[in-house]
């Protein structure tokens, strides 16, 4: 497939350099090189474009303005910043309209790989409408009680990084957003991180404060008017996250795999939130259909929306530049055989943790839930480990000990994070 990419930079030498450097991709990509935002917008109006890569500081319309306009007028386009500007103000202005941020000087391989990864996402979603919806998401709704907690903590005189990290790690929306920030070159970190607590530590409390209180990267689900109670989803997400981490720890010593398992487990149902926040009626239809027909939610989603929450979530995290293995785990957590790679991976952990949680804590509705894909486990040669994995579960779920209510957040507080309020002691 031929991807169309527009590069914008006010420095002609940078454009020419990019053009030469990317010449080897000329057969795969159609590239335009524009000296300013207005030229780029002309191209966007004229022909379909998949990705824009823009400088931030430019005379006339600057990068933040340009990408904001792209976001509203051409929502399906993936927005990448490539900037040598490192001041906090520029960065804070670009946080909202930019999917991923690369800093100059950017290694040719990194730039190519980043674009390549964005291109490969295209296969995940067929509908331009859905692509647009996902690409326009600036924040993911948070559990109201956790949202209040994080605002209170950050507005307090002396916010504790430990408390902030603990709150963020308990919320699906906050976790996703904070991982976007830390995996991007926004703050010059450019680290491969998928543990939200670790991410908060890397960013520092001041940056998090700025992001949350000034740039509003988080939002409360109260404002989003979700059609369902988040408690159950949060409960399940937390449990799967912890369980996936535990499974990964049992199978491998690789810290990235363990970390990715945790992050991906926590975020595996992110797509449900995207769906509920953007298309609440369709979300209702999905539930109704699933109940009427007695089919898996996944199938109902496919029927009503044309895609699944797995793909929606993966698409967003891919756009946001989260590690590939996390994106992959989201995309295939219900159908792990769709992934061609082998060996124990975060995907394996999330798939198993999800199925085990459903198996051990059946939900009140009698809907069929996803089961462990025995063939997949067999194929990995891990069939013998299944009983050991089951053994890991009960303790973990007991620790989570959540009720299915809106106030789940406060329960987590007391039950699982005694360290969270260390500051008050």
């Amino acid at each position: 497939m031929d991807y169309r990419i527009v590069f914008v930079d006010d420095e002609p030498r940078v454009l020419q350099g990019l053009k030469r450097m990317l010449r080897s991709m000329r057969k795969k990509w159609t590239m335009h090189f524009c000296p300013g935002a207005s030229e780029a917008l002309e191209i966007l109006e004229r022909e379909p474009v998949d990705i824009v890569v823009s400088d931030m500081r430019m005379p006339g319309m600057d990068g933040a303005e340009f990408l904001t306009e792209v976001m509203t007028r051409f929502p399906t386009v993936a927005r990448l910043a490539l900037s040598g500007q490192a001041d906090e103000e520029t960065i804070m202005r670009s946080v909202r309209p930019v999917h991923q941020y690369l800093s100059k000087p950017c290694d040719a391989q990194v730039l190519k790989a980043t674009i390549q990864r964005l291109c490969s996402l295209h296969g995940l979603l067929q509908s331009d409408h859905l692509k647009g919806l996902v690409a326009q998401m600036k924040s993911i709704p948070s559990l109201p009680s956790l949202y209040t907690q994080i605002i209170n903590e950050l507005e307090s005189e002396n916010p504790s990084i430990k408390t902030v990290g603990a709150i963020i790690a308990r919320d699906v929306g906050m976790t996703a957003k904070i991982l976007q920030m830390v995996n991007s070159a926004f703050f010059g970190l450019r680290r491969r991180v998928s543990d939200p607590t670790h991410a908060v530590n890397l960013l520092g409390v001041d940056t998090v404060k700025n992001l949350v209180l000034s740039v509003h990267v988080f939002s409360s689900s109260k404002a989003a008017k979700l059609p369902f109670s988040l408690g159950a989803l949060w409960n399940h997400s937390m449990t799967v996250g912890m369980l996936a981490k535990r499974l990964a720890r049992a199978e491998t010593a690789q810290p990235t795999v363990i970390e990715d398992a945790l992050g991906a487990g926590m975020l595996h149902d992110l797509g449900k939130l995207i769906l509920a926040a953007n298309l609440p009626e369709k979300y209702e239809q999905v539930s109704t259909l699933a109940e009427q027909e007695g089919i898996e939610l996944l199938k109902a989603e496919q029927e009503v929306v044309g895609t699944t929450h797995a793909e929606l979530g993966a698409y967003l995290l891919g756009l946001w530049g989260l590690p590939d293995s996390v994106v992959e785990a989201l995309a295939f957590h219900h159908a792990p055989q769709g992934d061609s790679s082998t060996g124990f991976r975060p995907l394996t952990a999330v798939h198993a943790a999800n199925a085990l949680d459903h198996e051990l804590r059946p939900s009140s509705s009698a809907l069929p839930t996803s089961k462990i894909d025995a063939a997949y486990i067999e194929q990995l040669g891990l069939a013998g480990r299944l009983s050991a994995w089951r053994g890991l579960c009960p303790a973990e779920i007991e620790v989570a000990g959540l009720d299915n209510d809106q106030d789940a957040g406060s329960h987590i507080d007391e039950d699982t994070e005694p360290g969270g309020h260390e500051k008050a002691a």
Binding site: S24, R57, P59, D107
Partner: protein, 621 residues
């Protein structure tokens, strides 16, 4: 009323100097003798009064006057109260009695009545004694609190009222109680006595006030939080306690070895200062020198002095202020302002370096790929050559070679490779320029002054500040090669020019935000004009509004939003140019057209003294 006759009533018991009745039966000689004795007695009383009262404190004067007045009149009782007009109040000062009439009236002494009723103080037109009508006298008696007399006693007493005035102002009132039937025949003597009393009172009051004010001023001097020093012939005649505190030594130790507290290298400065002070009638500017605190550390002292006469001798009065902390703060402030400018530049410089690094890297990557493509092509050609040598070439071989050449697009490479090389070299050149300029900009010795090429300095400053102006303005530099190198503190002048450039860029940015999207222009010109080097920095910004113009160089004055600048930039530029280099910094501005700042630096004379010790203060940061 005042001239009312006092009828003579004979009374035999009491004896008084003034009015005691004479024995009519006595001989003329004896009577004359008596009169003489009485006169002696009168003078004795007057003499005693004057002697006693003049040497007494003000507080005691009233009781002396009171006692002697009673003796003079042979009165049973005399009461005196002082009067203060601002605010109006009466204070009972003294009451004197004959022994048998001693009441508990003494308790009344010190009693104060604020806003006394008109009846008590009214009708007093001169220093005199008057007959008092019963109604008024009972009010006065009530005021003095002497109502304990029995009714019989009351009837046997005549009451007279006293008023004492000086220059028409009431000083005191009083009352005299005489036994009934006595007369005041020699009223004029009493009036004269009262007048003497007024003079004494007035004098003692003045003495008291002056001693009080001296005490007060002494307190001021001793509690002053500046060091105060009086020198006569370089010897300490007075030093206040604060000065001892400043030097960290006990009071008194300052006397002789005052100069020991100076650092030896500073002594000539103080000598010079005192010399000027003694010889000139004008006050000389303050002197700043270092003193050695007793613990050995240096304290910066600012001295301002004046010539005075002390105990009749010409002396120098010096005020010494500890400005160590102020100097430190000033230094920190100017350092902070400089750091602010550098911090502002740091992000821009990073960007300036990152951009060429980006395209140099991209071009290099391109050249790398191209070279491997070329190698492939060359190997295809080599194969072709070998086959040609073996005379085994086929049409297919040529086709293959042609395809290979087309695949890597030789025409494109022929055009792009040289460009990539040129641009990469340019990019590297730009990085080196920025790094060199940054080094030149940031590195100059802290307070060193040496021969500096102003043009080079301007170019460096323009380079490091490029990111500040390039988005809003074109930069034009017209630098006169013939201007001489001059000894200046490069860091300070760099800073000044940088601050003006940043200011210009912000002025231009302001007009761009106001609608016109066209870039503005900043022009920098240098030239020589007589003994001055001129640096003109012109912008096409919005100009400086008239109300703001007088404050442009004020420290902390800023028209920018809170948080975007401390308002120190132009103030520092002014300090650097004017205070440190004896130059001038002026501006011309036109609303809507722009502003031109002009720096004038003197082409230094041989000694190059323009950037003297003052310069260090500005640039020590």
């Amino acid at each position: 009323m005042t001239n009312q006759a006092f009828t003579a009533v004979e009374k035999d018991k009491e004896s008084a100097i003034v009015d005691a009745p004479c024995d009519t039966g006595a001989s003329a000689g004896a009577r004359a003798q008596l009169v003489l004795e009485r006169r002696d007695e009168l003078f004795r009383i007057l003499y005693d009064t004057v002697m006693e009262a003049t040497s007494a404190d003000y507080d005691q004067v009233f009781s002396i006057l009171c006692r002697n007045l009673r003796l003079l009149c042979g009165a049973r009782s005399v009461m005196l109260a002082s009067y203060e007009p601002h605010p109006p109040m009466l204070r009972i000062e003294a009451i004197d009695f004959q022994d048998e009439l001693r009441h508990n009236c003494q308790e009344s002494i010190g009693k104060i009545i604020a806003d006394p009723p008109a009846c008590l103080i009214g009708g007093c037109e001169a220093t005199q004694i008057q007959v008092c009508d019963p109604e008024l006298s009972s009010q006065i008696e009530e005021f003095f609190g002497c109502r304990t007399c029995s009714a019989a006693c009351r009837d046997s007493i005549d009451r007279y009222r006293i008023s004492c005035l000086r220059d028409g102002e009431l000083l005191a009132i009083g009352m005299i109680l005489l036994p009934s039937g006595w007369t005041l025949r020699q009223q004029d003597i009493i009036n004269a006595y009262l007048n003497i009393g007024v003079v004494i009172l007035h004098r003692n009051k003045a003495v008291r006030e002056s001693s009080q004010s001296e005490k007060r001023f002494r307190t001021y001097v001793e509690q002053a939080t500046v060091g105060i020093l009086i020198l006569i012939d370089d010897r300490v005649r007075y030093a206040n306690p604060h000065l001892s505190d400043l030097m960290g030594c006990p009071a008194g130790d300052l006397d002789e070895p005052f100069y020991d507290f100076l650092f030896p290298e500073d002594r000539p400065h103080l000598d010079g200062y005192l010399k000027v002070l003694r010889s000139s009638h004008q006050s000389s500017p303050d002197l700043q020198i270092g003193f050695r605190h007793r613990t050995g550390h240096r304290i910066d002292i600012e001295i301002s002095g004046t010539r005075v006469t002390y105990t009749g001798e010409p002396a120098e009065l010096l005020f010494l202020r500890d400005v160590t902390e102020r100097n430190t703060l000033q230094m920190q402030l100017s350092r902070a302002a400089k750091l602010e400018a550098i911090g502002q530049l740091a992000g821009g410089i990073a960007h300036e370096i990152n951009t060429p690094t980006q395209y140099v890297g991209d071009n290099t990557r391109f050249l790398q790929e191209t070279f491997s493509d070329m190698l492939e092509l060359i190997s295809t050609y080599q194969t072709l050559m070998e086959r040609a040598r073996a005379r085994a070439t086929t049409e297919e071989d040529f086709l293959k070679a042609k395809e290979a050449a087309e695949a890597i697009d030789i025409a494109f490479l022929e055009e792009e490779v040289p460009k990539a090389l040129v641009q990469s070299l340019e990019g590297l050149g730009r990085i080196s320029t920025i790094v060199a300029a940054m080094k030149a900009f940031a590195n100059p010795q802290v307070c060193d002054t040496r021969q500096i090429d102003i043009n080079k300095l301007i170019q460096d400053t323009v380079t490091v500040s490029r990111n500040e102006w390039k988005y809003v303005a074109e930069m034009e530099t017209v630098l006169d090669d013939s201007i001489p190198c001059i000894p200046i503190n490069a860091a300070a002048i760099n800073q000044a020019i940088l601050n003006i450039i940043i200011n210009a860029a912000q002025a231009v940015a302001g007009t761009i935000e106001n609608g016109s999207k066209e870039k503005g222009k900043i022009s920098i010109r240098t030239r020589c004009e007589g003994n001055w080097i001129l640096i003109e920095i012109q912008d096409t910004g919005g100009g400086i509004p008239k109300v703001v113009q007088p404050r442009v160089f004020d420290p902390f004055f800023t028209t920018k939003e809170v948080g975007s600048g401390t308002g120190q930039g132009l103030a520092l530029a002014h300090a650097a140019v004017v205070d440190s280099h004896g130059g001038k910094l002026t501006f011309e501005t036109k609303i809507g057209k722009g502003t031109t700042f002009v720096i004038r630096l003197p082409v230094a004379e041989a000694d190059g003294n323009h950037a003297g010790s003052h310069g260090e203060e500005d640039t020590a940061a």
